[in-house]
Symmetry: C2
Subunit: 77 residues, 2 copies
């Protein structure tokens, strides 16, 4: 099965944000990235750069590597 | 100690390429990225995108997560 780095990133980003009980707007504020950018990133619509990955990681208080783990999917289409 | 995602990425990229016994030129060819881009990426001079990370990972036959591990440095300046 072919993996897609943007898909892996976006799913992990959303999962970590939701687990942290932050809204996209709150993450936007703390990461200093536009709310539309956060929304697009979580939907896999952006080919984001390493610096943006770092901003999001810091705002979510995790290491960047956490966005690249392959997490088992549960009943997801 | 503050970590820097670009520094972590570039050090891992070079380490993995050298371990794979590939030249920058060979990696450039197999990743379809310009040789100057590969060189800059390894020196931490580029804020590269996720798609480029994926191209480099595929060319080096590793998962993208391998570029984000914090490896202990041994006597490196």
């Amino acid at each position: 099965m072919k993996k897609d780095i943007i898909k892996t990133f976006s799913k992990n980003m959303k999962r970590i944000r939701v687990n942290a009980q932050l809204t996209q707007e709150e993450l936007s504020f703390s990461s200093e990235l536009h709310r539309n950018y956060i929304s697009d990133a979580e939907r896999g619509k952006r080919n984001i750069s390493l610096k943006s990955v770092e901003k999001i990681a810091k705002a979510l208080n995790v290491e960047p590597i956490e966005f690249f783990r392959e997490i088992e999917e549960e009943k997801e289409n």
